[in-house]
Amino acid sequence: MIIYVIIVLVVLAVWVISIYNFFVSSKTRIKASIQEIGNQLKRQSDLIPNLESSVKGYLSHEKGILQMLSDARKLISTGKDASAKIAELLPKLQVVVESNPELKGNTVVTNLMDELRDTADKVMYARRLLIDLTADFNVKRATFPSSIIAGLFKFEEMKGLETSDTGVHLSVSELETKSPKINL
C-alpha cells in the first residue's frame, strides 16, 4: 500500500517539477527573445545607412553616364550642327562605357530591395518568437492543471509584444477596406 502512495507522490513531484521548469525556462527564453528584437533592430540601423550610401554612390556614378548619353542624344535630335560638342563628348563616353561594360544599376537596386526585405523579415520573426513564447507561457498559466502550479509559485502573466489596446489600429476605416493602388 505504502509503495503505491510513494509511486503516486514521485510521479506528482516529477510533474510539478517539469511544469515549474517550463515556466521558469519560458520566462528566460522570453527575456532572451526580447533582447533578440533589440539585436535585430540594431543590425537594421547599422545596415541600412551603409547600404544606402553604397547604393547611392553607385547610382550617382551611373547617373553621370546616363546623363552624358541623354545629352548626346539631345544634341543629335536638335538637328543643329553639334559636331564640335559631340566630338568633345565622345571620348569621355567611350572611356565611361569601356570601363562599365554593363550598367548594373538594376541589380544593385534589386539587391538593396532584397536586403531591405530581409532585415524587415528578421525583425518581424524576432517579434514572432516573442509573441509565440508569451502565448505558450500564458496558455499554460491559464489552463488546468498547470494553472495550479502557476498559482502556487505566483507566475505573473507575461506581456509579450506590447501593443496599445486602444487606437486606430483596432478599427478599419472605410479607406482601408479598399485595396491600395500603386502609382509609379
Binding site: 520573426y125 518568437l129 509565440d132
Partner: protein, 317 residues
C-alpha cells in the same frame, strides 16, 4: 476558417492516434508471432528470445541510418553547402525562420537538380540539415520559399526524423519475425506432432496469417504516420510564417512540375516537401487505394487544408 491553434491541436491528436494504433499493432503482432515461433521451436518462454534478437538486428540497421542521417543523405544526394552570397534568398529565409522558431540554425545544402523539391534530415534540431534543389530555388519566389522552408523546419521541430526512424525499426522487426516464422513453417515444427492440442493449432494458424499480412499492414501504418506528419508540418509552417498563401502557391508550382527527382530514393522519400516520385494518380476508389501506399498526402488535400487555415478562397479552375 479554422484558427491555426485548433488545426495544430487536431493534428497532434490525429498523429498520436495513428502512432498509438501502430504501437498496439506492433505489440499484438510481435506477441502472436513470438508465440507461434516459440511453438515451432519448442521455446516455452513465449519465444521472447527471438523478439530480442530481431529487435537488435532491426535496431542496428535503422540506428545507423538514423544517427548518421545527415551525412548519409548528403553523400547520396551529392549536395553542396549553400552560401549567403550565392543563394541569398535560401540562406536568409532559413536564417529568419530560425529566429522566429527559436531553433538552432540547420546546415543548408543545395542539390543540383532542376526538379523543385526540398527535404530536412538529421537526428535532432542540433544536427538538422535542410536541403533544397536548384530547381526549387529558381522557380519559387521568396514568400513561397519561406513556406517550404518553414515546412521543413517544422519537421525538424516535431522530431519527425526520429519518429520515422523508430517506426522503421518496428516495421523491420515485424518483417524479420514474420520471415522467420514462414521459414520455420516450411520445415514443420518440432513439437507440432507430440503436442497436438487445439491452442497450438490456433496459434500456428494465427501466426502464419500474421506473418503474411503484418509486414504489409505495418508498412501501411508507417505511411499513414508519414502522411499525418506532412499535414502537421504544413500547419507548423503556417504557424511560423502566417502566410498560407506562400506554401499553397509553392505546392501548386511543385505539383505542376512533372520532372522526377534524380537523387531521390525510397529511403528518403518521406523527408521531402512533396513526394519526389511523380506519376499519374488514379481517380476515385483507385486513387484512394493508391494513396494508401504514398508517403505524402495528395497535394490537393494539403492545399485544401491550407485554405481552411487562411481567409482566402481557392480559385476554381
Amino acid at each position: 476558417m479554422k484558427n491555426i491553434y485548433e488545426v495544430q491541436n487536431a493534428n497532434k491528436i490525429k498523429s498520436a492516434i495513428v502512432v498509438v494504433c501502430f504501437v498496439v499493432f506492433v505489440a499484438v503482432t510481435v506477441y502472436v508471432l513470438s508465440q507461434a515461433l516459440g511453438y515451432y521451436w519448442g521455446y516455452d518462454v513465449g519465444g521472447l528470445g527471438f523478439v530480442g534478437f530481431a529487435l537488435i538486428i532491426s535496431g542496428i540497421i535503422s540506428y545507423g541510418s538514423y544517427y548518421f542521417s545527415d551525412r548519409i543523405v548528403l553523400t547520396i544526394s551529392g549536395a553542396k553547402e549553400a552560401s549567403r552570397k550565392e543563394y541569398f534568398d535560401f540562406y536568409t529565409v532559413a536564417e529568419n525562420l530560425v529566429i522566429g522558431s527559436g531553433l538552432p540554425k540547420p546546415k543548408l545544402y543545395v542539390i543540383n537538380d532542376s526538379a523543385p523539391n526540398a527535404f530536412a534530415t538529421g537526428r535532432d534540431p542540433k544536427h538538422a540539415v535542410i536541403c533544397a534543389t536548384t530547381g526549387l530555388l529558381d522557380k519559387l519566389t521568396r514568400t513561397e520559399l519561406e513556406g517550404v522552408l518553414a515546412h521543413e523546419l517544422s519537421h525538424v521541430r516535431n522530431y519527425d526524423i526520429r519518429l520515422q526512424s523508430l517506426v522503421a525499426v518496428m516495421v523491420g522487426l515485424i518483417a524479420l519475425l514474420g520471415d522467420w516464422l514462414l521459414r520455420a513453417s516450411w520445415f514443420g515444427g518440432r513439437r507440432s506432432k507430440d503436442d497436438n492440442n487445439q491452442m497450438g493449432a490456433i496459434i500456428l494458424v494465427l501466426g502464419i496469417i500474421f506473418a503474411i499480412l503484418s509486414p504489409i499492414i505495418a508498412q501501411l501504418i508507417q505511411l499513414a504516420i508519414s502522411r499525418r506528419r506532412e499535414f502537421m508540418a504544413d500547419a507548423g509552417s503556417v504557424s511560423l510564417t502566417r502566410q498560407p498563401g506562400g506554401l499553397i502557391s509553392a505546392l501548386e508550382k511543385i505539383s505542376k512540375d512533372t520532372e522526377p527527382l534524380e537523387a531521390a530514393n525510397k529511403a528518403t522519400a518521406h523527408l521531402y516537401i512533396a513526394s519526389p516520385f511523380k506519376g499519374k494518380r488514379g481517380q476515385g476508389s483507385v486513387g484512394w487505394f493508391s494513396n494508401l501506399f504514398n508517403t505524402h498526402p495528395p497535394i490537393e488535400e494539403r492545399i485544401k487544408a491550407l485554405y481552411d487555415m487562411s481567409n482566402e478562397k481557392p480559385i476554381k479552375g
